[in-house]
C-alpha cells in the first residue's frame, strides 16, 4: 500500500474522537487497532515472517491478563458490603475525630510511596481503595455533614488519585522497580551506562514534590467539602 506515513496516525485520531464523544470504549479501541494495523500494511492473520493483527490482539490480551486479576477480589468485597462493611467503616471513623477525606488520602499516598520504596509493585484500587480507603473517607465526610452524590464523586476521585500519585512517583525509589530498570536498560542500549543510584537521586525531588502537591490538593478538597457542608446546614 502506498499511503503517506502520517496516515498511520488515523488510529490516534479514532481514539481521541471516540473518547471525546464517549462512544463504546471497547469498540473504539479495537477499531483503532485494526485500522492502524491495516494502514501499516500488517496482515490480519500471521503469515510467514509477519505477525498478524488478530494474533497480536490475542497475544497482548493473554500477556496482560494480570491487569484484570482484581476480579477475584469482588465476591469477598461484595459479601462484606452486604453485611455492613460500609456502615461499620463509617461507624468506626466517626469515633476518630481527626480523620478527614483529605488526611486519609494524604496518608494513603504516603503508604503507597513506602510500597514503592520497599520494592513492592501493585495497583491498589482493587485491594485498598475500594474496600477500605473509600468507605473510611465516606465515613469521615459524614461526620462533618450531609454527603450528597456530588461530594461522593469528589471523594472517590480523590481516593483514586492518591493511589495513582503514590504509585507512579513512589515506585522509582527502588532499584528493583520496573521504571528504574527500564530507564537503565534503554539508556544502556543507547550507549550510556547510567548508575541506578543516580536515577534514584534525581527522582527524589519529584517524589517529594508529588507528596506536597498531593497534600495541597487533598487539603483544599477538605476545605471545599466543609464549606458546602456548612452552607447546607
Amino acid at each position: 500500500m502506498l499511503l503517506p506515513e502520517w496516515f498511520k496516525l488515523a488510529g490516534v485520531f479514532i481514539v481521541v474522537i471516540g473518547f471525546a464523544l464517549k462512544l463504546r470504549t471497547t469498540l473504539v479501541v479495537v477499531a483503532a487497532a485494526l485500522i492502524t494495523g491495516l494502514i501499516a500494511g500488517l496482515p490480519l492473520f500471521t503469515m510467514p515472517g509477519q505477525e498478524g493483527i488478530v494474533n497480536m490482539l490475542g497475544r497482548a490480551f493473554s500477556e496482560n491478563r494480570l491487569m484484570t486479576l482484581f476480579l477475584i477480589t469482588l465476591p469477598a468485597i461484595g459479601l462484606a458490603e452486604r453485611y455492613g462493611l460500609q456502615e461499620q467503616s463509617a461507624a468506626l471513623i466517626r469515633r476518630a475525630r481527626a480523620a478527614t477525606v483529605g488526611r486519609l488520602s494524604i496518608l494513603y499516598q504516603l503508604f503507597r510511596v513506602l510500597h514503592g520504596f520497599l520494592g513492592l509493585r501493585l495497583v491498589g484500587h482493587a485491594p485498598f481503595v475500594r474496600p477500605l480507603i473509600f468507605p473510611m473517607s465516606a465515613g469521615a465526610a459524614e461526620t462533618k455533614g450531609e454527603v450528597d452524590a456530588e461530594k461522593l464523586e469528589q471523594i472517590k476521585a480523590a481516593n483514586s488519585a492518591s493511589e495513582n500519585y503514590g504509585n507512579f512517583y513512589g515506585q522509582n525509589l527502588s532499584v528493583v522497580q520496573p521504571g528504574i530498570l527500564l530507564v537503565y536498560g534503554v539508556m544502556k542500549g543507547l550507549g550510556y551506562e547510567v548508575s541506578l543510584w543516580r536515577l534514584i537521586l534525581f527522582t527524589t525531588p519529584i517524589v517529594l514534590l508529588s507528596i506536597v502537591l498531593g497534600a495541597v490538593q487533598f487539603l483544599h478538597l477538605d476545605r471545599r467539602l466543609n464549606v458546602t457542608a456548612k452552607k447546607n446546614g
Binding site: 497480536m56 490480551f61 452486604r82 455492613g84 528493583v176 543516580r198
Partner: protein
C-alpha cells in the same frame, strides 16, 4: 522453586477464569437481566480467554476478543438482578458483626503484601517479586472469600451473587486495560512512535536548549497520552529525541534527564483515558457517574508537576 506450579501465573489465571465461569452461568440463569444470553456469552468467552489464554493459539484468543467486543458493541452486556439488601439490614448486620466484617477485606491487601514481601526478602529477581504480588492478590481473594463466609454465615451462592453484582457494575470496562495493551502492541508494530519522534525532530531548533527540553517533555507526555503508558513511550522518546538532540550534543548528565523524562511522562498517564487500569477501571470499581472523574481530579496536579519537570530539567542541565 522459582518455576513450580505455585509460582506460575497460569494457575491464578485459571482460578480467576473459574470465577468468571460461575458469573457466566449465573448470568445465563438470571431472568432479571435484560440481555442474559448476550451478557452470559460475554462472561463465558472472557472466562475461556482468561483460563486458557496460555494454551490457546493467539489468533483464537484474538477472535474471542473480537466476538466479545462485538457483543458489547451491540449493547448486549447488561446488569442483572441480585436480591439486594436494604440499607437498614446492612446497618443491623454492622451492629451485630462489628469490626469482624473488616477481616475479609483486610485479608486481601495483607496476603498480597506478605507474598510480595516474602519473595522480596527471599532475594528472588524482580519479575518473581512482581508475580508474587499478583499471586498474593489471588490467594488473598480466596482467603477473603473463606473468611467472609465464616464470619457472615452466608452461603457460597450469595457470595458469588455479590461478586457478580460488582462485576456487572464494572461490565465490559474490565476488558479495557487488556485491549489498550493490544493497541499499544499494534502502534509499536506500525512504528507510530517513530513518526512522533520524527515530527519533533523536524520542528525544534537544534541550538535552543530550553526549547529542546520543552519539546522532549511535551513529546514524552503526548506519546504517553496516546499509549496510555509511560513505559511504552520512554524508549521511543529516549532514542528519538532525548539522546540525539539533548544528551549527545550538550553532554548533559544522562541519568538525570532520563529519569526526569520518564516521570514527565507520568503526567501523561494521569491525564489519559488510555491508562484505563489507573483512571477508568477505578471509576467503575467505585461506581462513579463520570467516567472521566478521576482524570478531571488529577488534571491540575498533572499539569503543575509537569511544569516543574521542565524547569527542574533545564535548571539542572545549566547548573550541573
Amino acid at each position: 522453586m522459582s518455576e513450580s506450579w505455585f509460582l506460575n501465573l497460569e494457575t491464578v489465571y485459571a482460578v480467576t477464569g473459574a470465577v468468571l465461569f460461575v458469573f457466566a452461568v449465573m448470568t445465563f440463569r438470571d431472568k432479571g437481566n435484560r440481555h442474559r444470553y448476550g451478557s452470559g456469552l460475554f462472561w463465558l468467552l472472557l472466562a475461556v480467554a482468561f483460563g486458557f489464554g496460555g494454551v490457546l493459539p493467539h489468533w483464537v484468543t484474538g477472535m474471542l476478543v473480537l466476538v466479545m467486543v462485538g457483543i458489547d458493541g451491540l449493547k448486549r452486556v447488561s446488569i442483572g438482578s441480585y436480591d439486594e439488601t436494604k440499607h437498614e439490614q446492612q446497618v443491623e448486620h454492622a451492629s451485630r458483626l462489628k469490626n469482624k466484617i473488616f477481616l475479609p477485606v483486610i485479608a486481601i491487601p495483607m496476603v498480597t503484601f506478605i507474598f510480595a514481601l516474602a519473595f522480596r526478602i527471599a532475594g528472588l529477581d524482580s519479575s518473581a517479586v512482581n508475580r508474587a504480588a499478583l499471586i498474593g492478590l489471588v490467594v488473598g481473594g480466596i482467603v477473603a472469600m473463606i473468611l467472609a463466609l465464616r464470619i457472615t454465615g452466608s452461603t457460597t451462592r450469595t457470595l458469588f451473587q455479590e461478586g457478580r453484582r460488582l462485576n456487572d457494575a464494572i461490565g465490559s470496562l474490565s476488558l479495557l486495560p487488556q485491549l489498550l495493551a493490544s493497541l499499544g502492541v499494534i502502534f509499536t508494530a506500525a512504528k507510530v512512535g517513530n513518526l512522533i519522534a520524527g515530527g519533533i525532530q523536524s520542528i525544534v531548533p537544534e541550538n535552543s536548549l530550553f526549547l529542546l527540553v520543552l519539546a522532549n517533555c511535551v513529546g514524552m507526555t503526548v506519546f504517553t497520552i496516546v499509549m496510555g503508558n509511560s513505559f511504552a513511550a520512554f524508549p521511543v522518546i529516549a532514542s528519538g529525541v532525548l539522546v540525539p538532540l539533548i544528551v549527545k550534543p550538550f553532554g548533559v548528565d544522562p541519568a538525570m534527564v532520563a529519569i526526569l523524562t520518564l516521570t514527565a511522562g507520568s503526567s501523561g498517564t494521569l491525564m489519559t483515558p488510555m491508562g484505563a487500569n489507573f483512571n477508568i477501571v477505578p471509576t467503575a470499581l467505585l461506581n462513579m457517574k463520570d467516567q472521566y472523574g478521576v482524570i478531571k481530579f488529577q488534571l491540575p496536579f498533572a499539569l503543575t508537576i509537569w511544569s516543574f519537570h521542565v524547569l527542574l530539567m533545564w535548571i539542572l542541565i545549566k547548573t550541573l
